[in-house]
């Protein structure tokens, strides 16, 4: 498979076309905005946390296929997980995207999200894929400033 096919896999294109949990969540008790000044991608992540567990998570915004698919997959992966697991997954995904994951073992730690591993061959696109994750992190931390990938 070429690097390009690796990047735009069927699953990614599907999440781009029909993003999951793509909605405003009125019941959210955490939310944050993320912004990529390089390309103008914007995302808002909504989280409903109860007793340290992510009961519900959704997102809204505009962005490229990579950022949308990454956000969509993030929400499906994190729903029902404890907050601490979200942080750990963020770290592992980040390592995978920047190519620091150390091959096969790295992919194991991120489960289905390994489909995003093709991004590390496209350094200019790493920020697209990581935007929603940074935003989720600042939502959980309750930060006031919008998350940035810069």
């Amino acid at each position: 498979m070429s690097e390009l096919d690796d990047l735009y896999q069927e699953v990614i294109l599907d999440h781009n076309k029909s993003p999951r949990n793509f909605r405003v969540m009125a019941a959210a008790n955490r939310r944050a905005e993320g912004y990529n000044p390089l390309c103008g991608d914007q995302v808002t992540v909504f989280v409903q946390v109860e007793d340290g567990v992510i009961k519900d998570i959704s997102f809204q915004g505009s962005g490229c296929a990579i950022s949308k698919a990454s956000a969509s997959m993030m929400t499906t992966e994190l729903k029902g997980k404890p907050e601490s697991a979200a942080h750990e997954l963020f770290e592992n995904v980040h390592h995978m995207l920047t190519g620091e994951a150390g091959g096969e073992n790295g992919s194991e730690r991120v489960g289905k999200l390994a489909i995003l591993s093709g991004v590390c061959k496209f350094p200019a696109r790493v920020k697209c894929a990581s935007l929603a994750w940074h935003t989720m992190e600042s939502a959980l931390k309750g930060e006031q400033q919008p998350a940035k990938t810069e």
Partner: protein, 420 residues
């Protein structure tokens, strides 16, 4: 807009303008990207450099490197002469009346900041108004916003229509007794619109209001004559006109520059310094504090020599042909929408798909060796005006070819194959 390019036009343009020969002057154009020939369509961001410009930098550091305007030794005299010769070439390039009016700066951004901070802080007061257009680059918005915050002035914005043209009636309505400055682009970087700057200047001058033109995107495409334009300031960057990065020019009318305070203080911009009082140097040095970018200034002079040796009418005809051919070709692609359809355009073709983000377009084109810009082009208000987050932008230089546009079209077809 739907005019199919005439073959005879193409032949006429190519007869006078030998693009294959011109391409040999630019070493990087023979590069391969991802195993494919580079198709460089990101000239609006920065242009490529001809061998003579690269040689000028090399020659300076090998044979002339020395500080200017201070040494009495041989090398310093040579470096000073080379640098001032370059200033003279730039004067000729834009037909300024005097080399006193040619201020070397880092680029367009610094030129506009210089005017905003020097002219603006001295002559624009609380309650005054500054007019820009809705299609400015951030570098012609933010310096004025900063000034407005500092002095309590107000920024007014001329709207643009759906083709990306200035709405002149709205501009006339905005002009009033409080208007103290007009700063507009000559050619839009995001849309390619050639702005009717002569009308804009005439209307401002009728009220005694000075006008700055952001010429960053105009200098590589149009012949510039600042006296014919009758502008008060003209700002442009070297690196977009086949010269090096890190050097540009602010042209200013001498009588305005004379009454403006210095922008930065330091060496070279003074004639006498004591702890009681400092006397500033004469023009243009009053605005050139510190050791300048000597090598790149000299190399920008080499870029001017290169441009002046080209037959300019045939360059314009060739670029016009590229734009018309590309516009017609892209209009035939289903679901593709061109952003920026002004009657008068130069060098830029921005487009979007409803279902494919510009960033994804950019990545896939890159895999085919085609370099375009994908994003907001430092003109976020333009993106908001057209309701798009970003566009893919093809921007031409005279060394681009019709065949390269065919490669672009095939690459876009590949985008549509991936995204369905």
């Amino acid at each position: 807009m739907n005019a199919v390019p005439q073959k005879t036009d193409a032949i006429m343009a190519l007869n006078k303008f030998d693009v294959a020969r011109v391409r040999q002057d630019f070493p990087i154009l023979s590069a391969k990207v991802h195993g494919k020939p580079l198709v460089y369509f990101d000239n609006g961001a920065t242009s490529q450099k001809p061998q003579c410009v690269i040689d000028a930098i090399d020659h300076y550091y090998r044979f002339e490197n020395s500080n200017i305007h201070r040494g009495v030794h041989h090398l310093s005299e040579r470096a000073t002469a080379a640098y001032e010769t370059a200033r003279g070439k730039l004067r000729g390039f834009i037909n300024a009346g005097s080399v006193k009016e040619i201020i070397f700066v880092r680029g367009t951004t610094e030129a506009i900041n210089l005017v905003a901070q020097s002219y603006g802080r001295a002559f624009i007061k609380a309650g005054d108004e500054i007019i820009v257009s809705a299609m400015e680059h951030h570098s012609n918005i933010v310096p004025w916003q900063m000034l407005c915050e500092q002095v309590g002035a107000k920024l007014r914005v001329i709207p643009i229509n759906h083709d990306g043209e200035i709405v002149m009636e709205e501009y006339e309505r905005l002009l009033n007794d409080k208007t103290k400055f007009v700063s507009v682009t000559h050619v839009s970087n995001a849309l390619g619109t050639v702005v009717p700057v002569k009308n804009i200047i005439a209307l401002a001058h009728a009220r005694g209001v000075p006008v700055l033109l952001d010429g960053a995107q105009a200098v590589p495409h149009l012949k510039i004559d600042v006296r014919d334009l009758d502008c008060d300031f003209y700002a442009f960057s070297g690196h977009k006109m086949f010269g090096p990065t890190g050097v540009g020019v602010l042209y200013g009318r001498a009588e305005l520059l004379e009454k403006m305070p210095p922008y930065q203080g330091g060496g070279d911009m003074i004639s006498l310094v004591t702890f009681e009082k400092t006397h500033y140097n004469v023009l243009p040095y009053k605005f050139e504090a510190g050791t300048p970018n000597i090598a790149d200034g000299i190399a920008l002079g080499a870029a001017v020599d290169y441009l002046r040796a080209l037959d300019w009418p045939s360059v314009v005809a060739h670029e016009d042909q590229l734009l018309r051919y590309a516009t017609a070709a892209l209009e035939r692609i289903p679901a593709l929408r061109i952003i920026g359809t002004a009657k008068e355009k130069a060098g830029v073709l921005s487009f979007v798909f409803d279902h494919v983000h510009a960033h994804d377009v950019g990545t896939i084109l890159d895999q085919e060796g085609v370099a375009v810009r994908a994003g907001h082009h430092c003109a976020m208000p333009v993106m908001q005006r057209f309701g798009v987050p970003a566009t893919a932008r093809v921007s031409f230089a005279f060394y681009n070819t019709i065949e390269e546009i065919d490669v672009l079209v095939r690459a876009i077809e590949h985008v549509l194959k991936v995204f369905g």
